[in-house]
Symmetry: D5
Subunit: 170 residues, 10 copies
């Protein structure tokens, strides 16, 4: 199958850092090695799977569950034997959050943490006034990253969209 190689931005693709491998499930090195071998971006893989880029990257890091169809599509686009993939923990349940130390040391991730730290109460006040007593679900949830270019430069836009869950009265 002839997938588009590299990224549409011209940037190199993301590969796995060896020093976090011990915090990842067994499919992660396998998936990343094939991704590197075939020089595929998450954008390209996401299109093949019909999913969002962030979801696919999360899947590579073991932070999301692959459906059977995802596994088939991954095997195809990455030229990996399906049964080899099935032998990994892909058939298990994600053990989320372990690969990240908090507070994050990585500057890119820290900026997101800082936004929560600085605007946490502001978000809460606005969301309480808009929705009442509850939370935005991080489970019934999707997220995406978009690029916007204008005369002031390049902008990164992250959208978080979750179901509003009101506290039960009991």
């Amino acid at each position: 199958m002839a997938e588009k190689t590299g990224t549409s931005s011209g940037q190199p693709i993301a590969v796995l850092n060896v020093h976090i491998v011990h915090r990842l499930p067994s499919q992660s090195p396998l998936l990343f090695a094939a991704k590197k071998q075939k020089n595929l971006s998450f954008e390209t893989i996401a299109q093949a799977l019909g999913r969002e880029e962030v979801a696919v990257a999360a899947l590579f890091y073991g932070q999301a569950k692959a459906s059977e169809e995802d596994v088939k599509n991954l095997a195809k686009i990455l030229d990996l034997p399906e049964d080899k993939l099935m032998e990994t923990e892909m058939t298990g349940w994600p053990d989320r959050g372990r690969q990240m130390e908090m507070p994050p040391k990585e500057p890119l991730v820290y900026r997101l943490f800082e936004i929560v730290q600085n605007y946490g109460y502001a978000y809460k006040a606005v969301m309480n006034e808009k929705f009442g007593d509850g939370i935005m679900s991080a489970i019934t949830f999707s997220t995406k990253v978009e690029r916007e270019d204008d005369e002031k430069g390049t902008w990164c836009k992250i959208t978080l969209r979750g179901k509003w869950l009101p506290y039960s009265r009991f």
Copy 2:
């Protein structure tokens, strides 16, 4: 001045919790008391200031800087003497982040923290492929909260939009 009282959602307005006052600057109790007295939502105040709701809430919690015009507008809409506001730390520089303990205990804020914890590396991989080596600024940055209702229920959408800053080569 006859502002619209209450929230457009019918929910009660947000007021100040007394047990975090000692972590806030001196204008916070003043602003929140007037907000409560006049029963104004952040939406209403934000319209009067021409700013986003989250920015205005951050301003009430001392997490953002008010311009002189903001102070004037706040004084007017909250029926507060402008010079009394000026005597507070509004004339100083925000000391951001102090009111929030991390990890956050508040479930609403924790969900945002969890999103960073779970998807941190996924965001990084996708953003590196899209933009190269750098970060999304949390300073040249804006954010907003929106409500979307569809047949599946009520959704909360948070948008984070920041300038992309590539690492300098030196």
Copy 3:
């Protein structure tokens, strides 16, 4: 109104410990003082409010939101002026979790923490097999405490019941 005073178990009622007051919202001392004054148990108050005991205790500690009707009922059963209650943060939104240091030092609460620490992965494995990839909501959620006496002694039974939320595919 002639409420039943004391507890049905013959144990003294729960009152407020002064050294956590600074972590609680402004209605807490007010509510607890009236509860003590009238010698009412959470069981009695819960019946008057039509809510669970744990929910009512959470409400006294500022960990749950009172509806308008709850406020009315509380004012009545506690002989408190309704408007005085309304002046507190009862009209605001709960800032949950702040009164508890983790890990908990209190032995009773520590035992619950220990159950999560010891059986966390076991719960996860069983719940994943039973429900798939997701979580039990702590928001669309109720809980209760029951007493069971048998020949082996007295047993405490805690029930946690939450909506199952499957992870969204995105």
Copy 4:
């Protein structure tokens, strides 16, 4: 022996995540490998052992002690030589709690942690009124997970049941 394979819910069975193996006793990889090989759910194994699912999962994670009979039954249902099992730490005493970092990063487990954090004092107040000064034992204790389906969706019910231990007077 012809055990029912897979789960009754149709969900995949739980397998072991490689990145927590170093926190588990030596029988864990062995047991999980056989479970995966034979595609058995904790429900099926629990029935064969006459124990609760959570207890059996805890046993797989080294968080509970297997009786000699349990070992025999496990060997049989998992097609493992009994003496090979006996050579592991199954003959030793569980070193509980080590596999879990607190606060838990896993969202499913975090929700249970959050319940303790939010309702800790409320549980204590209610339990003190109901039982007096003491704790609910986490040792003379059992727990189970049940599924309930109704028109509002699927619910997860966790029951914690422990002996009430009053503080000794000394």
Copy 5:
């Protein structure tokens, strides 16, 4: 009532350190002030209450529950009005453990902590061999401090005695 003043060892009595008052319940300053005023040791008070010294000291620090009879006896020996004592949190339930930061900074208490840190696994191994899988209860529990003098000097002997609780099989 003419109680023996001072300690039998000739050492000054223990009084309250002002800088931990904010971590103690409201009866603590009251009880310690009367103790100081009347120059009574915990030994003397313990005899009057028919309890162990450690239990009585724990009671002064709000770490143990006083029975009604204890309150009466305390009021008598300390010359305090019984109803004044009853107005404090003595009528409430102890919120244990809050007055101690861990690891303890106080050298005397640190030594006890160090014993747990150094011999923790040794105790566990010995207790498992002696009693099976379980714990020594810290609730159905008593403790005392004794002094022994011999030719090698003065020795402090602490006895911890708790019910053995075997893990339930479930």
Copy 6:
């Protein structure tokens, strides 16, 4: 040499948990393997060494220093070549405390920690009144575990006995 095998209680003997091996000195796996091989309890080994059970267990975990005579006795009772034992770190000095994370996660050890947390100040007050300003030594120190059975059940008694060290005046 024909030592009594197994424990006098009928409980299985304690063996080494593989996941703490990396926190232990090099003699620990050797000693525990021989202990398991010969099915010896700490009670039996302690009698052969003329030491307390807790001391011997501490020695197995590298938390106490073996004398030359201890090494000889250990070699004999465990059927280990003396020089092989001498090649381990038994000839070095114990690096105490490393194998235990604090706060302890193990419920049995946590209960001991909790006793220090709850009764720390009470112990201190009583000990100061009894002995003056100083500490109970954890070095010039011994400890033992005893079992007591009465009509109320089985009790575990731990004795801590240390030299009283008064603060030097300087």
Copy 7:
């Protein structure tokens, strides 16, 4: 009484920083106020008490116990009524270590902490070879600070001297 005022070095005397007062016992502000009022150095006070400067400073910070004679001498040299001093916690037992956060933020104290951090194992190895298995007591202990001037500049010499305590064999 005409004490020598100021320090022999010509440096200003040490006074109390208001922001640690809440971590100190009640005699600390009293003693420091008189010290400031009379402009006395710890050197001068130490001579009057016949104690080391560090011991006297520790006494001012509530980290050491004053004997009755010390109290008398302090009252005299500081022109304080003896009974006023006795009303403070001077008559109680020091609650050591609470005024210091670890790791220390103060650069002077951090350097001492760093010495322990860097040379900890080196000290241990040397001390084990010199003395055997044990510790240097921090209780049967004295310390002093001396100044040495030579052609290379000014040197600070701290001496720590403690009794060697060998581990008991038990």
Copy 8:
């Protein structure tokens, strides 16, 4: 070369604990193995190098830099090929402090930590009065351990001597 073997105290020499090897540079296992093989004390090696014992022990733990001459002398006294030593990180720069967790768990090291915790402010006050505003350098610094025996027993004396560095005025 015929060095004196063993220690002058008759105590066994210090050897390396295997469980901290992963925190040490590559020369540490090499040096300690040779030291054990030849049964040399730090005292003997220190004399051969013309350095203090603590400095030499620090050098073995990778906490100090060896000069070229030190390497030659070490090679000679330990019968190690000089070039083999040079291939280790001895030619690099020490990465100090990593082998020690703080607070230290080892009782011997903890006592030193406790001295800093208890007397930190006292040292500071005395040093400020003696030297002015500054610190005692931990870099332009030396330290030694001495043994003193008198009728009261054995004493350990540690001397810390550092250049006094006054804060620059800028």
Copy 9:
């Protein structure tokens, strides 16, 4: 005295945030109040004192020691009675570092922390190659902040300059 009011940049002057006052010495509120009253920048005050701006700001936050001449100059430029200033802790010794929680939550300060976190080892390697084994003193040290404007925008330049201190050989 007619000082230039305001800042040369046209930005408002820095004033004190009320929520850190409890972490500052007693002169801080006094100095900041006068600074606000007279609308003086640190630049203006620094010129009057002949010191760097950062040093003067540190002095206001109690992080640096004022000389007698500094106090005189401060009194003059701030129109404060000299003896009133002298009554504060200005006559004492700075207790540095207490006002800052680490990691810093303030985004501006966090960026400096992040530079140390990211480039720490790189600085060390370069400095070791340039200077040998030692440190850059933070005591014999000065620092300044400069503004540079070019076609690419506005730049902030921070200079850190400290004496190089080689490790003593001992």
Copy 10:
């Protein structure tokens, strides 16, 4: 190619400490091994790459991104096959900050941390007055280390230079 070997200062070059390798990406051991083999300083390599020494050291520690040209130049000066370098994570994105524990234990790095801890608020106040509300970027940023020798000794000068980023108004 004949590069200048060794450092211009006569100090040994920096090599890799084995105990942090597990925190570094896969190119780090490769690069450092070649650097050691060819005895090249960061100064020499930096000149070959046309970059700053700190940037190059950061590159060796995986804290900065190498451009394609950098990789070519590195391959040339270090005599490494270019494709071997490309197989490492050099083609991936740096995962910054993981190799450093905070607070840093290394004395050299701690001094930088201490500067942030002590002068954090002072920097902020001065920078706010000079630039307004914002931060100095650590991304659009460069840094260098310089050596200055004068009659008072050797000085280390670190320059941090970052773009000033004003907070967006939104």
